[in-house]
């Protein structure tokens, strides 16, 4: 069946290329005939639908690509009564039907009167390739580019004539390059003579990308000069990619480091500066993430236009909510327990369980959906380096938070008082600083920072009551490794651990990598019990 499709497509492409290279046949076929072919899309299993797509493409009609596009996106329905393929549009509780070929109004029907034409991955691929060959001559360069990319993926020898025609007419150099590459992959899949294939290997090899490597790898097993050329080209691409791979791993490491930094920076204050072993730190992160969820829910229901700003709105709120809860915990529990680390550990662990269960009771045990604003979705390429927007923003955000916190601690009165209390509590008290309130607000600051970390972390992970537990161990690891009481230590510690973890992962695997990292930290702490940047001061010596 698939062979038939390919044959039909090939025949049409050759015909159209040979007879009418410029004729953009608007309506190459009469409406009833086209409708009959379109109705075939609703008959039989996936194999039959694939054949029907081939038959549609073979008509060369201009309307085919938009109909296929609808099929691919799952918007094509069939009327159950007479098996006629229709387009639907929701209108109240009913559906408004239109004819996909003529665009004629077919009246209103209840939802149960139609059913969706099912497509699976294979059909979506077929559709993408078919639309690709059909839209190679589109007026929009972006459409032509994606068409060429779709054809490149399909590796379909029958597309060569269409590509030749398109390349000859292509004004845009960039798009032309993609088309030439697409032609090369098609040539590799065809039974053209060896010389053509050798040229094709060279064209693909010159691309130097991972996709190009993937295409060449299929042919490295071949005998003769083509196989040899493919092997040579593949090796040269691989060596070129080696450096990119290393860079990619480091970029992952920096990204993981920024996540660790965000999670740990609040703890660097509550644990690092104040010396409170705060097991409820992760829950502050979780509360920040849930604040984001609530903000997004409210925006979704009352002001959908603001969705792209939801994170910016959530940031101050998360800081206030988590910070407020932090102050509350400090005033009600922790202040009775200063200087008793074991009891603090147990009490805050209890608080963490209470907070988890409270969130579970209010929001339910299931994950909550926090959406990515458009400016945080997708990825972009720098050379062969793929960088996702959400990760990039998190790196930037973590550094901004770090700088902001430094500023607060070094340049404000509150920061001065905090540092004074940390270094020598009784002296600070004698100088008139209200140490209990400084404690409360410092704890609140640490918790608030954890809250805004939660806003960022909601973009890359789960939002569930267990969110905080995943970060608590890592946070402690970073703070202890970096040096208790030193924010720079936290920054360097987070980045070191992140990059080390990511460099190790490809070789040792995720599980062993994590174990090795822990072993490394244990050994390191043996050698330097106070971490990378040990704080010198009377309080520490005491």
């Amino acid at each position: 069946m698939r062979a038939l499709t390919v044959l039909v497509t090939a025949l049409w492409l050759m015909l159209s290329a040979a007879l009418a290279p410029t004729a953009a046949a608007a309506t190459a076929i009469a409406d009833p005939d086209l409708s009959r072919l379109v109705n075939q899309l609703a008959e039989g299993g996936f194999d039959e639908v694939e054949a029907a797509i081939g038959a549609l493409v073979a008509t060369g009609d201009d309307r085919v690509s938009s109909i296929l596009d609808k099929l691919g996106s799952g918007d094509l329905f069939v009327r159950k009564a007479d098996r006629v393929v229709v387009l639907t549009e929701a209108a109240g509780r009913e559906l408004k039907l239109t004819d996909p070929v003529t665009g004629a109004d077919l009246g209103m029907v209840p939802k149960a009167a139609v059913e969706k034409i099912r497509v699976n991955n294979r059909l979506r691929r077929t559709v993408a390739a078919a639309i690709g060959t059909l839209t190679l001559r589109s007026d929009d360069p972006a459409v032509r580019r994606s068409a060429a990319e779709a054809v490149m993926k399909s590796k379909d020898a029958s597309a060569i004539p269409a590509l030749d025609a398109a390349i000859a007419a292509e004004p845009d150099e960039g798009v032309k390059g993609v088309m030439i590459a697409a032609r090369a992959t098609a040539v590799m899949a065809s039974d053209l003579p060896e010389a053509d294939k050798l040229a094709a290997v060279e064209t693909i090899g010159d691309l130097g990308t991972r996709d190009a490597l993937a295409m060449l790898t299929s042919y490295t097993g071949l005998e003769g000069p083509v196989g040899e050329a493919a092997r040579k080209a593949a090796t040269s691409i691989e060596s070129g990619l080696l450096l990119w791979d290393a860079a990619q791993n480091i970029s992952y490491g920096i990204s993981l480091g920024s996540v660790l930094l965000l999670a740990a920076i609040g703890l660097a204050i509550t644990f690092g500066v104040m010396g409170v072993i705060n097991m409820a730190h992760g829950e502050m992160v979780m509360i920040g993430a849930y604040t984001t969820f609530v903000v997004q829910e409210i925006i979704r229901t009352s002001a959908p236009g603001l969705f792209d700003y939801s994170l910016l709105i959530a940031l101050p709120l998360a800081f206030l909510v988590s910070g407020g809860i932090g102050v509350l915990i400090e005033r009600s529990v922790i202040r009775w327990l200063y200087g008793r680390p074991l009891e603090t550990l147990l009490a805050t662990w209890g608080v963490s369980l209470i907070l988890q269960q409270a969130v579970r009771t209010i929001f339910g045990a299931q994950n909550r959906e926090v959406g990515n604003p458009s400016w945080m979705s997708g990825s972009f390429m720098v050379g062969e380096l793929s960088i996702t927007w959400s990760r990039l923003w998190i790196i930037v955000f973590s550094l901004v938070v770090f700088a902001g916190l430094m500023l607060v601690l070094k340049r404000t009165t509150f920061g001065l008082q905090t540092r004074a209390v940390t270094q020598n509590r009784s002296m600070a008290s004698a100088m008139g600083i209200r140490t209990p309130w400084v404690d409360a607000f410092t704890f609140g600051l640490g918790s608030g920072i954890a809250g805004i970390a939660g806003v960022a972390l909601s973009q890359i992970g789960n939002v569930s009551p267990n969110l905080g537990q995943g970060y608590i161990i890592d946070s402690f690891m970073v703070v202890v490794f970096g040096g208790v009481g030193n924010l720079w230590g936290t920054l360097v510690g987070a980045m070191t651990l992140g990059i080390a973890n990511k460099l190790m992962e490809p070789y040792a695997g995720a599980v062993l990598g994590k174990i090795l990292l822990l072993v490394f930290i244990i050994l390191f702490i043996q050698k330097r019990p106070r971490g990378l940047f040990a704080l010198k001061g009377r309080a520490i010596e005491a």
Binding site: A128, V259, Q357, I460, N462, A510
Partner: protein
């Protein structure tokens, strides 16, 4: 019942917080006394309501309560009302065993519906054997077990994993496989079975990549990039995912962000259902697959009725249904039918009468309890849609019998389980003719 009583108590004493607290304390302690009255049959519910597994298990607790509610509306069982006894083992494996003992010894329940993870099932096994009670286990698992006191209503590997691999090979022409899983017993055993199966089908060892990650793994950048790299060897590649629970959301988000589309590298998952997708924007995931024995989108009248009743019971018209819920639906109805056939809740009699019981499943057919304590089910493959539901793209022609001892593993391929008398054995070796005991 438990929950209803304490909320009623709380509303009566809303005048002061202290009063309410005192009252619910009283009603909680008074409950065991009130529940001691006869003419109810007690049903134990052993699902975590707190801790990491609460995310999945809370729904199952609600499901059992809903099923009991429905059954009581129909007049209960053997003329008696059913009464739920809910305990919270808090995702703590040893606590599962303690709570199971409490349910059977102290509360004297006739049957228990519970557990999710394999380790929790293994932890309660000795208790159920010692006290001779009945456990219905509703989750897909790795197989390699058949116990007299346990009835497995979830899928064995041959009812989920192997049909999924067959679908990908036949329909998508996949030749290269990534087996990615969370590092614990279910993924490890399932992947061992799948690896043996793929090798037996002629897949080259270098075309199989196996990858494990810790529980709750959240940084998937490297692994997704590795999958991308592995998939760029010129052969059609697919990922078979036994990644569990919490780790799925960041995994799928990373796939979406790195632009891996289902058309390029499809991911078929065994632990991702409607509940898990509820926490995700599924638009970038359209076309990725899952293999289950039930989807909420199944087009059957019995399913529509179930969903309607469930959403009315939970007073939430967005509440989704999923495969383990269907397993409890089947298991609960099997138990009711077996008790009515036996005329008693006596465990030995119910265990014997359960074998051969056949009840409607939610996909419009019937499921039967086999002598190996596993059930027959259809296998469905669904593709994720933008609305968070699955579209069924493949369904096995008939029902598949759960295979407790995998045919693809050395050491278990000669074993069978048959709990009918006189054999009554969970691991009978057909070669040596001996029961392993």
């Amino acid at each position: 019942m438990t929950t209803e009583r304490s909320t009623a108590g709380q509303t009566r004493a809303t005048r002061s917080l202290m009063g309410a607290l005192a009252f619910s304390l009283l009603s909680a302690t008074g409950l065991s006394g009130a529940a001691a009255q006869e003419d109810t049959i007690k049903v134990g519910v052993l699902h975590s309501l707190s801790g990491t597994m609460a995310i999945s298990e809370t729904t199952l607790k609600d499901t059992v309560l809903y099923l009991i509610d429905e059954q009581n509306k129909k007049g209960g069982v053997l003329g008696k009302k059913l009464e739920a006894v809910v305990v919270d083992p808090a995702s703590d494996w040893p606590l599962f065993a303690e709570k199971a003992r409490e349910l059977i010894e102290k509360e004297k329940v006739s049957v228990v519906f519970g557990c999710w993870t394999s380790v929790s099932r293994k932890s309660v096994l000795p208790v159920f054997k010692e006290l001779n009670s009945i456990l219905f286990y509703p989750v897909q698992y790795e197989g390699e077990e058949s116990e007299r006191n346990v009835f497995y209503t979830g899928a064995a590997p041959n009812q989920q994993a192997i049909p999924a691999v067959d679908y990908l090979a036949a329909e998508e022409g996949v030749e290269r496989w990534v087996l990615a899983g969370t590092d614990y017993v279910y993924p490890r055993t399932t992947n061992k079975i799948l690896e043996a199966y793929l090798l037996a089908k002629g897949v080259a060892p270098e075309d199989i990549m196996i990858n494990y990650t810790p529980f709750g793994h959240s940084d998937w950048q490297t692994i997704v990039a590795d999958i991308k790299k592995f998939g760029s060897a010129g052969k059609k590649t697919a990922v078979v995912s036994t990644i569990n629970g919490d780790a799925n959301v960041p995994f799928y988000k990373e796939l979406g962000n790195q632009g891996i589309k289902a058309e390029d590298i499809p991911v078929v998952a065994f632990s991702v259902g409607e509940e898990e997708l509820a926490g995700l924007d599924t638009a970038p995931l359209v076309g990725h697959l899952a293999a289950w024995n039930y989807f909420q989108s199944v087009d059957a009248e019995v399913n529509a009725t179930f969903i309607e009743g469930w959403q009315a019971y939970t007073k939430n018209d967005k509440r989704v249904t999923n495969d383990p819920m269907e397993a409890h639906y089947i298991g609960f109805n099997m138990w009711v039918k077996a008790v009515e056939a036996a005329g008693s809740v006596e465990p030995d009699m119910v265990i014997d009468s359960l074998i051969g019981v056949s009840v409607p499943n939610l996909s419009g057919g019937y499921s039967a309890m086999m002598p190996n304590h596993h059930i027959t089910k259809p296998v469905l493959i669904g593709e994720i849609q933008a609305d968070g539901q699955f579209e069924i793209v493949s369904q096995t022609a008939g029902l598949v019998v759960g295979d407790e001892w995998s045919d693809y593993l050395e050491g278990s391929k000669d074993l069978i389980a048959d709990w009918r008398k006189p054999l009554s054995c969970g691991n009978f070796n057909v070669v040596t003719g001996k029961c392993g005991g």
